[in-house]
């Protein structure tokens, strides 16, 4: 019950936040000197009448505040409006969301399944050669810019011919059998997943290692060791439970990154995901599309934090009690 009230409170708190986010983004986009009709205006064959009609269709002839009101009203109703090319924003997003999710879910799953154990292992084997090698490797992982790494891998793909050069499916995808289709997508996914995996693995592994090291240094762990508990029990039963808390917060942020975290890599690999769509929309100042994606990002971030907090309440009795008292 208390948790429910807490959730409700948190949701209510997000409403003013979202309004502020939307206001700021809307005004920044509209007040920037980017003209959504620039390309049309620079086309010698486009007539004045066409330009006039386009201006009216996009509502550019009205004051910004009226434009915002119109946008906000339809947004609340669940209508995301149309893009500057007249397509439904929701349809455009729906085309791309599954592709991006496919990529990011695989990456997050892999990093967590590999990164957390590696972090634990490194902390337990602190200062052994194993730990040092891992530290060097993760330093490399964190230091390589994703963009650069992606380009290197693309060149690798071209020179060896082992992997396709970007994209998600081959051009004869339509004629493939189901198993061929799965193989085809896997082949296309390997390189982008490698890039994203390397980069986020490094951060996660270090975070986990640092957390666990902190905890391993604390008095109750020393006490547990002094009591003669096996090292396994000390680490997994006592230390780990306490070290995992910050990781849950991190998981909340990962959730927010599900739809927006891979934009740069998507761009290099020509991956048909949201990142590319939104980048192109921003360059064109396609307001409805940009707003929809910004709001989606904001909502995902708020939701991710909320989920993390709820998970924390469940895993950590201290927070549960403190939260309870507050409520």
């Amino acid at each position: 019950m208390q948790i429910l009230i807490y959730i409700l409170k948190r949701i209510l708190q997000t409403i003013p936040l979202l309004i502020i986010v939307s206001l700021i983004s809307f005004f920044i986009i509209r007040l920037s000197p980017v003209d959504p009709l620039a390309e049309l205006k620079l086309n010698p064959s486009v007539s004045k009448e066409t330009l006039q009609r386009e201006t009216e269709r996009l509502g550019l002839d009205k004051p910004i505040i009226v434009q915002y009101g119109k946008w906000a009203k339809s947004f609340v109703k669940g209508d995301l409006g149309i893009t500057s090319n007249g397509e439904q924003v929701s349809a455009k997003l729906k085309e791309r969301i599954p592709n991006t999710l496919l990529l990011t879910v695989i990456v997050i799953f892999l990093t967590w399944i590999v990164g957390v154990p590696l972090g634990i292992l490194a902390a337990v084997k602190w200062k052994t050669p194993f730990d040092r090698i891992l530290t060097v490797l993760t330093s490399i992982g964190m230091a390589i810019p994703s963009f650069f790494f992606a380009v290197l891998l693309l060149i690798f793909a071209v020179k060896t011919g082992w992997f396709p050069v970007g994209g998600l499916t081959s051009s004869n995808f339509l004629e493939m059998s189901f198993s061929q289709k799965v193989m085809d997508i896997t082949r296309h996914l390997i390189l982008p997943v490698t890039v994203l995996f390397t980069i986020s693995l490094a951060g996660l592994q270090r975070q986990m290692r640092a957390n666990l090291l902190d905890v391993l240094d604390s008095d109750y762990v020393k006490f547990a060791r002094a009591k003669g508990l096996s090292e396994f029990k000390v680490v997994f039963k006592h230390a780990l439970r306490n070290a995992i808390n910050p990781m849950i917060t991190l998981l909340g942020f990962e959730f927010a990154g599900l739809l927006s975290g891979a934009a740069l890599t998507e761009y290099v690999f020509q991956y048909p995901g949201l990142g590319r769509l939104i980048l192109e929309a921003v360059l064109r100042s396609d307001i409805n599309l940009v707003m929809a994606s910004l709001m989606m990002g904001a909502i995902m971030l708020v939701a991710g934090n909320l989920i993390a907090d709820i998970l924390l309440i469940i895993t950590d009795p201290r927070i549960r009690e403190a939260g309870g008292r507050q409520a």
Binding site: P33, D35, L42, P44, T50, E95, V136, L154, S171, P272
Partner: protein, 627 residues
């Protein structure tokens, strides 16, 4: 103390290892980097391209009409090929936004929809004349155009293509103002539109209010199948705007072109398959096209396109700058040929803001002291002579461009060949400046006769590396004259806003794409009331402001040029307009890049031309040895 020392030692050891680690990483990176560098051949090895003439005078034979069993086919005159195979091409950007050829507002959408629909006429890819395509033939008598259609040819769904489709397309879609109205807007003569009449099932007559030369080429507009488009037209303009958008199922498209849509995957590719009812046959009487599919990959940028070609995923690519040398080198031991198909239709220019009007707040758009410089013909000419075009061609375009001096592009059939190119001549520039009272102070700064230091902003769109490079060189060239040039690349959209709305700019480097066949398309740039009359842009409120004498003359020439019918008569008008621009320098043209394409050798019947590009005869291209 002892403990400290141990920790210190440990740290040292750790640092040592770290340093070794870093060194290893650096070595790996350097090796990788070196491998990449070695792949590029030195720039001094300028590519020796095949002579332009080699390619243009190839033995392309235009298809001819041939009637078999009462059906008026078009017959390919080129080598008989093998059936089957695919060709993979690419398009840079976001891909098509609609498949409705009447709704397109951008080049890619037009290209993607026009693959599927043929127009009544087309352009002869070598000579540039208008030749029949979907029509069997045509006659022009003054302002009357009589079109004879092919008997017995069919849409991709098996229905006949008749005069009803032509009349419907023109009367109910184009002239009625459905979709993108730029065609309609461009054929209005004195406020009146042409009319279209059905004479019989296979004959159509168009009448323009006055003889209007650009109209003939407008007949290349796609013809729509009436039985598909009519229901959409009946639902009104708003519905028509969304009709045949990119969400459409491919079966919903009924086409007349050699290919029809098979699949569209957003942000990845557009796949077309052979239209079995296409009306062109080869010399054996087999129905074309030869290829089963053509595939356009949607790629984000040029680099990715190059990688895809090298990785074997693409069959055709158009190349730029440094890549040309590299590809030329690779060509020797590779499966593709690099073609030089001559200057493209793009024109790159430097322009000064000649605006002398005030904005709503009574403030001049252009600082009056700058107005004094820019409106001075000697100043403009001095800038022109100071610009080193040859140097730019060599250094920016890697020698793959030609210096440009005229508003019509170098491959235009209306190009005024009497306007001679010239080299950089700083002495002449200085003499011209002196003539107008400019002088140099002790520090070598250029000052006008009111003692103002000549300093202004030069804009171009950021991100376009070619224009940015030109900007840097223009800045250097002009600073040789003692001017101070603040070069500011800004975001494309902001720049356009400056050029057409706020008008607060001094100098700009821009490019426009013209038509090599029809100068009338440039009327928005050259007529004084045009929406792109950049060098002296008039906003709505300024439409009646005074025109410069030569602006007035160009207005007249453009009007007359459109009304004259004969090529020779028209050419006179357009020659004079080019001469005026050459003399008055509202735009200082810089260069035109040369189009270079690489195509895999397995494709035959490939005849790239400057006017038609690579795909003008896509139905005749075949993959050798496919069977």
């Amino acid at each position: 103390m002892v403990i400290n020392k141990i920790i210190f030692h440990d740290k040292l050891l750790f640092m040592k290892r770290k340093i070794i680690g870093i060194l290893i990483v650096l070595c790996v990176a350097a090796l990788v980097g070196k491998a990449c560098i070695n792949r590029d051949i030195p720039e001094t090895d300028a590519p020796v391209l095949r002579k332009k003439a080699d390619v243009i005078l190839h033995d392309y034979k235009q298809p001819e009409n041939k009637t078999v069993n009462g059906i008026d086919y078009l017959q390919s005159q080129n080598t008989i090929g093998d059936f089957g195979g695919d060709m993979v091409l690419s398009t840079i950007g976001e891909g098509p936004k609609t498949f409705n050829p009447f709704n397109t507002k951008d080049n890619i959408s037009s290209q993607m929809s026009e693959i599927m629909y043929d127009g009544l006429v087309t352009t002869q890819p070598v000579t540039g004349e208008v030749i029949p395509k979907l029509a069997k033939g045509f006659e022009v008598n003054g302002n009357e155009y009589i079109i004879y259609l092919r008997k017995g040819i069919k849409w991709s769904d098996g229905k006949s293509i008749t005069a009803d489709d032509v009349v419907f397309t023109w009367k109910d879609i184009i002239l009625a103002g459905f979709g993108n109205t730029s065609i309609r807007d461009s054929i209005v003569v004195d406020g009146e539109l042409p009319t279209v009449h059905k004479i019989d099932d296979y004959t159509v007559k168009f009448i323009t209010p006055k003889p209007f030369a650009p109209f003939l080429r407008m007949l290349a507009t796609p013809i729509a199948p009436k039985h598909i488009f009519e229901p959409a037209v009946k639902k009104g303009k708003a519905y028509f705007d969304t009709f045949q958008s990119t969400n459409i199922k491919p079966e919903g498209l009924v086409t007349s072109g050699a290919f029809k849509l098979k699949e569209y995957v957003p942000a990845q590719r557009v796949v077309y398959e052979k239209n079995p009812n296409y009306y062109e046959i080869n010399k054996n009487g087999d129905k074309l096209p030869y290829l089963n599919k053509i595939i356009y990959l949607i790629v984000g940028d040029i680099n990715n396109e190059v990688l895809k070609f090298e990785g074997g995923e693409l069959d055709v690519i158009s190349l730029q700058g440094a890549n040309v040398a590299r590809f030329k080198e690779m060509e020797k031991h590779s499966d593709f040929t690099v073609y030089n198909i001559g200057p493209n239709t793009g024109t790159m220019y430097l322009s000064m803001n000649l605006n002398n009007r005030k904005d709503d707040n009574g403030k001049f758009y252009v600082d009056p002291k700058k107005q004094f410089w820019f409106s001075d013909l000697n100043f403009r000419k001095a800038c022109d002579y100071a610009i080193d075009r040859k140097n730019m061609v060599l250094n920016i375009a890697n020698g793959l461009a030609e210096p440009l001096f005229t508003p019509e592009s170098l491959n235009s059939i209306f190009l005024n060949k009497n306007l001679k190119p010239y080299d950089r001549d700083l002495e002449k520039s200085k003499e011209l400046l002196r003539k107008s009272g400019f002088y140099w102070d002790k520090k070598g700064h250029l000052r006008d006769k009111f003692n103002n230091h000549v300093e202004f902003n030069l804009y171009t769109n950021a991100g376009n590396t070619e224009r940015e490079a030109i900007g840097v060189m223009v800045k250097q060239d002009l600073e040789d004259l003692g001017m101070k040039v603040n070069f500011k690349p800004i975001e494309f959209n902001s720049l356009v806003n400056k050029l057409v709305s706020t008008l607060d700019w001094d100098m700009v480097i821009m490019g426009l794409t013209g038509s090599p066949l029809e100068p009338n398309g440039g009327k928005n740039v050259w007529m004084s009331n045009g929406t792109l009359h950049m060098f002296n842009q008039r906003l709505e409120k300024d439409m009646n402001s005074k025109r410069l004498p030569w602006e007035k003359r160009i207005d007249y020439l453009y009007e007359q040029g459109a009304l004259a019918i004969n090529f020779e008569d028209r050419k006179k008008y357009y020659d004079e307009y080019q001469e005026i621009v050459y003399e008055q320098k509202p735009f200082i043209y810089i260069y035109s890049p040369i189009i270079i394409v690489a195509i895999r050798n397995k494709f035959k019947n490939v005849f790239p031309t400057p006017l038609g590009g690579v795909t003008h005869n896509i139905e005749e291209i075949f993959e050798k040895g496919i069977n």
